[in-house]
């Protein structure tokens, strides 16, 4: 039964363009595993690079939450190299920042499978449910195989482009983040810290305001928000 289900899910990748193929994979996971959403998070070099695939807009937002809050099931599954299950988010204090926003988005249970090839981790496949409850070993096993396939897809894609360039999917993903990195450069000067530390300050701000980092970043780049003045005013 598991084999046929995994085959159907992987079959969803056939014929889809590079930009859509991992979204299709997530949608197929939602259909076959009876979920409220699914998202694939890419983690390279210890950095959350964004959602490379999602079943829908809400799943994409929840998958991106780990970037804003710096925590969540995907990062934990990636770091531990093992599946992570939280069948009742409402009763959990595991990832305070992630959980509050996920519950507000109507997600009540999360399961995350690491994307791995030969001991190296590349992110995680998140599965979301709108009601509390376990998914069961069989679904987690099957989802693990889907995560493996997504990992090989991403790495195989990199072998198709010259060094220094990115596939369409990853170029788009990277473009989505450009404003965040540009803003972290501005905030680095405003606070006289490294761009990485500036990004942490922007995340804290986004978390406090309950908005994505990208919104804070846009305000910084547009000059509507400064971090130095804010500190001086206090």
């Amino acid at each position: 039964m598991g084999d046929a289900r995994v085959d159907r899910i992987l079959g969803s990748m056939t014929g889809a363009s590079d930009r859509l193929v991992l979204d299709r994979l997530c949608i197929a996971c939602v259909d076959e595993f009876e979920l409220a959403g699914a998202g694939l998070v890419l983690v390279i070099g210890g950095t959350h690079r964004g959602a490379i695939g999602a079943s829908d807009e809400r799943a994409k937002r929840v998958a991106e939450l780990a970037f804003t809050s710096g925590e969540g099931p995907s990062l934990e599954a990636h770091e531990r190299g093992a599946p992570v299950s939280e069948p009742d988010l409402g009763r959990s204090s595991r990832w305070p920042g992630f959980t509050a926003a996920a519950v507000a988005a109507g997600i009540c249970a999360v399961f995350s499978l690491p994307m791995r090839i030969a001991a190296e981790g590349y992110g995680a496949l998140d599965l979301y449910r709108s009601e509390p409850g376990d998914l069961g070993e069989e679904v987690l096993d099957d989802a693990g195989r889907v995560a493996d396939r997504a990992t090989s897809y991403v790495l195989a894609g990199q072998s198709q482009v010259p060094p220094g360039s990115l596939t369409d999917l990853l170029a788009d993903l990277s473009d989505d983040r450009l404003v965040v990195h540009q803003a972290s450069g501005r905030v680095a000067i405003q606070l006289d810290v490294t761009p990485e530390a500036a990004l942490v300050a922007m995340r804290a701000r986004a978390f406090a305001q309950g908005c994505p980092v990208s919104e804070v970043a846009e305000a910084v780049v547009a000059g509507r928000l400064r971090f130095d003045r804010e500190v001086r005013d206090r």
Binding site: G45, A118, E120, S159, G164, H181, G185, R186, I189
Partner: protein, 249 residues
């Protein structure tokens, strides 16, 4: 004669070694040593083809074996070399004194080292040829056909180990390229933001300054961006340069 009681435990041990993060050379050395014990031969070694298809000695159970394998490679003759050039079949020389014409350099050298028979078993998976497992015995007829089958199974384990290691290396290389491509974009954007903030301009004007500096100083854009992000170059450096082009707009 093979030591049958060692076959099972050896295969388990070799399979156990093929777990995450093992060292390939160490694995092939272990394989050579176990081949000697299990098959009752005097020496064993593994030769692998490099990226250009030239054979190299990678593991030998004894130093004498290693030197003999080097003789094989230098003289382009001997069981292992033949096994490689004849596209992956096994090679048997049950009596090296009868092989003096076939291998005029290798056979006398092997006999002088105390070996009486020599065998080579291919390391291959379908059409993928990787190299060969060399087995030398101190007596004629040192490897029966039954023992050769056991030896071939050990060669197959080595093949799997090598292919696995190559796959892992490929993935690590691809992940490295992916990270470099992603990071270079991150750093360029950070440096644009920093220069824009320092000069009171926008990202486009900042980018023009950074690019002009890269051209003047004959550096890559990525190097300049990294230097800015790490505060080794300031916006003043970019502006005060004698040939600085004014930013557009």
């Amino acid at each position: 004669m093979a030591h049958d009681e060692l076959i099972g435990p050896t295969f388990v041990e070799l399979a156990d070694t093929l777990v995450e993060g093992y060292d390939l050379i160490e694995f092939l050395l272990l394989l050579s040593e176990r081949a000697v014990e299990v098959l009752g031969v005097a020496a064993a070694g593994v030769l692998l083809a490099d990226q250009r298809g030239a054979l190299r000695v990678v593991a030998s159970s004894t130093e004498e074996m290693r030197l003999l394998e080097l003789v094989e490679l230098q003289s382009s003759e001997g069981p292992c070399f033949e096994c490689w050039t004849q596209r992956g079949g096994s090679v048997r020389a049950d009596d090296l004194t009868l092989a003096l014409e076939r291998w005029p350099v290798f056979a006398p050298a092997a006999i002088a080292s105390g070996f009486a028979s020599a065998y080579a078993l291919p390391l291959r998976l379908r059409d993928d040829r990787l190299g060969a497992l060399n087995l030398f015995a101190a007596t004629p007829d040192g490897l029966s056909l039954d023992d050769q089958a056991v030896g071939q199974a050990m060669a197959d384990i080595a093949t799997i180990g090598i292919l696995h290691e190559r796959t892992v290396s490929q993935h690590v290389a691809l992940a490295g390229q992916l990270q470099a491509a992603l990071d270079s974009r991150v750093v360029l954007e950070q440096s644009k933001g920093m220069v824009a903030e320092q000069t009171g301009t926008d990202a486009e004007a900042a980018f023009a300054l950074i690019r002009a500096h890269a051209r003047r100083s004959n550096q890559r854009l990525g190097e300049v961006a990294r230097a800015i992000a790490e505060r080794r170059i300031s916006a003043d450096d970019l502006r005060s340069s004698p040939h600085a082009e004014p930013p557009p707009g």
